[in-house]
């Protein structure tokens, strides 16, 4: 009895490892846990709807029609930035194909020489000199690559991301090289929108109370109380976050580097990526070139599968879990470094409730000298 194999064309996103969710046939890429992203959407759309329903008619008539118009423009810009941050590829580095992984392994073994049995192999680190500063490139056991400078492995999405900033549960995606400027613009414009709505709520309440009295005003526009509450708490966290990221941009640092203290304390002033000029740093981060995605999500590839009915719709929301194990060799364990979890935990340092997504699938590392050496050195640091 032989199985009938069917070769069919599939889009590459269906076979990508990592814990991302893809929508719209690979055009949209997000993290797996999207609950908090829906909350963000709900809060923004809900608050703005209340503003347009309750305050805007009164303010348009009694103050100026420009007020709701500007609010609409600001709201649309915020939504565009949010969706762009959430749906785009943050700069994921594809995993090494088997030949490349073997090539690197051979290079490492050649460099290490003969390790006497019973001794740990040295940690897999490459030293590179960038602008007269030695930068250590670490080896990623999951992706089988030496990570480029400033890249880091996100344990929530299970991908190495270039210029990794942090994993943001509020936008449901990692923030990295490709979407950092959209994330920053999102925080900036959301702060402005929050201040705008808050200010005009106060103006509206004051103006109406002069005519009708305070309690009557609240009875006529009950949404005001809700808006003021939401805006008050959002304001402090968003303004704080925007200020923090403005500080990081002016120094050309990432949240990840800031948390790890890579370029602070005794290393202050040695950031090799900084141009030592605030304007130049801001221009590079915000107005630099738009990097293309190196993950070919919509390319076609052949897949051989046994003749079985596949019930995947055009817009499937979850990658089958089995895919995460396909490209990793069974004998080399997943990397488990503490510093990858910190960015997600401190993702929204100045925001109120910290909803941490627990790092998913923490498999116990298989006995391997490299892993032990790496984690023990990481702990010692």
């Amino acid at each position: 009895m032989s199985a009938v194999m069917i070769t069919r064309k599939v889009r590459k996103w269906e076979k990508l490892p990592g814990k991302n969710t893809f929508c719209c046939d690979g055009r949209v890429m997000m993290a797996r846990q999207k609950g908090i992203f829906y909350l963000t959407l709900f809060l923004i759309i809900g608050t703005c709807s209340l503003f347009f329903a309750f305050e805007c008619p009164y303010l348009a008539v009694h103050l100026s029609p420009a007020i709701p118009v500007f609010a609409v423009l600001l709201f649309l810009f915020v939504m565009a930035m949010l969706l762009r941050t959430s749906f785009s590829d943050p700069g994921v580095l594809p995993r090494a194909l088997p030949e490349e992984a073997n090539f690197i392994e051979m290079e490492i073994e050649a460099a290490n020489g003969n390790v006497p049995s019973g001794q740990r192999a040295p940690p897999r680190i490459r030293n590179v000199q960038i602008n007269n500063q030695i930068v250590k490139l670490k080896y990623c056991y999951t992706c089988k690559i030496f990570r480029p400078p400033r890249a880091s492995h996100c344990s929530i999405c299970d991908n190495c991301v270039d210029r990794f900033d942090h994993h943001c549960p509020w936008v449901g995606n990692c923030v990295g090289k490709r979407n950092y400027r959209y994330f920053y613009l999102f925080t900036l414009t959301l702060s402005l929108l929050t201040i705008y709505i808050f200010a005009f709520n106060i103006v509206h309440v004051v103006m109406r109370s002069v005519d009708q009295g305070f309690l009557n005003t609240l009875k006529e526009t009950p949404g005001t109380v809700l808006e003021v509450l939401v805006c008050f708490f959002t304001l402090w966290s968003m303004v704080g976050l925007t200020g923090f990221h403005t500080y990081l941009i002016s120094l050309n640092q990432t949240t990840n580097e800031d948390i790890k203290g890579s370029w602070s304390g005794k290393n202050r002033g040695q950031n090799p990526y900084s141009h030592k000029n605030i304007i130049k740093n801001c221009c590079e981060v915000l107005c630099g070139p738009t990097y293309p995605s190196v993950l070919d999500r919509r390319g076609l590839m052949q897949e051989d599968s046994p003749a079985a009915a596949n019930s995947e719709g055009p817009c499937s929301f979850d990658n089958p879990v089995a895919q995460t194990t396909k490209t990793t060799a069974p004998l080399i364990p997943n990397e488990h470094t503490p510093d990858d979890i910190k960015p997600s935990i401190a993702a929204e340092k100045s925001s109120g409730p910290k909803d941490d997504q627990p790092p998913a699938a923490m498999q116990p590392p298989l006995a391997s000298p490299e892993t032990d050496a790496e984690t023990s050195i990481a702990k010692n640091q």
Binding site: P148, P149, L185, G288, Y291, P292
Partner: protein, 158 residues
Amino acid sequence: MATEFHNLQDMQHTASLVTKVFIQRDYSEGTVCRFQTKFPAELDNRIERALLEQTVKTLNSYYVEAEKVGGQSYLEGCLACATAYIVFLCMETRYEKVLKKISGYIQEQNEKIYAPRGLLLTDPIERGMRVLEISVFEDRGSSGSSPSSSMSSCSTAR
């Protein structure tokens, strides 16, 4: 000298792959995309150093052009921001234009220089811009099929 392969397709379909050589990224100038110009020892008998160096240097110059932070990139960035980045749905960014040029250049180099020598360059974008992959195919001029014998017959033929 190795047997002349007639064209790229001929080599890809009929020759067998011996090994792959990877030219790594050069991070000495920061995170800009740049490949090492160090010549890999495995290609000693397959291609002249100068040719490979010239290819890598040209690729590096293309990437420098793509990633240049200057007047044009500022203009592009500000215009895009003013339109909430919707303009990117209809317009091709400068980086994408340069990537198309790079892919054309690699195709041309493969046809003219690398395929006749039994080698094949892979566009770095297909490997996540991490490495420049050079596939080494079996040298059809040799009698043996193992890499060492094919290499030695190559050197004696010269």
